[in-house]
Amino acid sequence: MLRNTFELKAMDTIVRIEGTPVVDNDQWAQEIMGWFDDYENICSRFRLTSELSKLNQAPSDSVIVIHPTLFEILQKAMHYAVETDFYFNPFIGTALKALGYRTTFNELRNSENVYSDSYSFDMQRDESLVLIPEITAVIKKMNIEIDLGGIAKGWSVDKVKSMLLSQGIEEGIVNAGGDLFVWGDTERTIGLSHPEDIEKDIIQFNIRNGGVATSNTIYRSWLTDGKRFHHILDGRTGQSSSNDVVQATAFSINATEADILAKILCMLPSQEAIPWLEKYFPHASCILIKNDGKVVISQSIKTYISRLVM
């Protein structure tokens, strides 16, 4: 069967989209490219003129009207912050900058002058950001910066999937740098990259429907003042997590949730990660890779995949 396929560069990664049946390829490709352009101008903390950067610079205790897209993603972020008791915490922008992550990771990786700032981490709560949906406005109750890195890719995958469905794409895949969503009747074989070599698969699995995302603590890491940090900060402490999980792949009902869960699963020791997932997100599943080489797969993986090869 003929398929629509195309790739574009967005969010510092490659987004691959494929779907059937064939529709007017040019129109929906243009629409999606335009959407990603707008999305980065709205949600990237690395663009000084983005809506998010302006919000981060705005004073607290003021009503700030924001773009509807930013409002929508903040709403989703706050929902998951509360659901995960702030393990997922969108208010870690200031902590990330204090630990040295002030630019895109590509720039950070090539930088020779990465320094840290002293920083006092205050625990956030659901009242840290007041949402006013009637006028798509927010009130910051704390003067700290928001970072949407833990949700942005997964959320964009879900939005693009919705756009494709509305265009009549009945089955397909959207893959944004490894955060993906698959839908339809056709099973697809997906590779799970080796933690240290993304071109090789440690596992392959067959899936028809669901969101999948992978995080690891090896790649996005950097040295600051001689100490190694990575980008997955425990939302409750503001510190780079340190445990035996080096890579986590989460499966869930959408890519947004899978993206968030993959990060949280990297924050928890392996002995706690799967029980935590089973307790708070029983419909989700995961594959963990530990620092001793062991691979731990939750039995609920059968909900999402039909075959797993390793």
Binding site: N175, G178, S193, Q204, G293, V296, I297, R307, V309
Partner: protein
């Protein structure tokens, strides 16, 4: 009186025997159910975990069926109620990387168009 005493002994022993037989029957049934469906070929072990098929075509498709293949040269696999644990056979594996995670032999897997990976 003596007869009553013997009668009580016979009833008691008979009851215990019956109950023991009943438990053994239950256990035998469980063992035959969980004997599993192991199919072994030359280089791969395949474990099929099936549940009772459901009525409709959609439900049949959605049943919790999963096939797990692993290369015996690279992994030992253990199963519990909650998790499946694959333990690298470090002494057998080639292309071992610094943190002991083996890169399994490529012929086991086919090229894929999509991967999930760290971003």
């Amino acid at each position: 009186m003596k007869q009553n005493k013997w009668l009580k002994w016979i009833v008691g022993i008979g009851g215990i025997s019956t109950f023991t037989l009943f438990l053994q029957t239950i256990e035998a049934t469980n063992q035959s159910d969980s004997a599993g469906d192991y199919a072994v070929n030359h280089s791969l072990k395949v474990l099929n975990q099936e549940r009772t098929p459901l009525a409709t075509k959609t439900e049949l498709r959605e049943q919790q069926l999963m096939t797990l293949d692993w290369s015996e040269a690279d992994w030992d696999v253990e199963f519990t109620n909650d998790v499946i644990i694959a333990i690298p056979r470090a002494e057998q594996s080639t292309n071992k990387v610094s943190n002991n995670i083996p890169q399994t032999k490529q012929p086991v897997k086919s090229p894929v168009e999509d991967r999930t990976r760290r971003s």
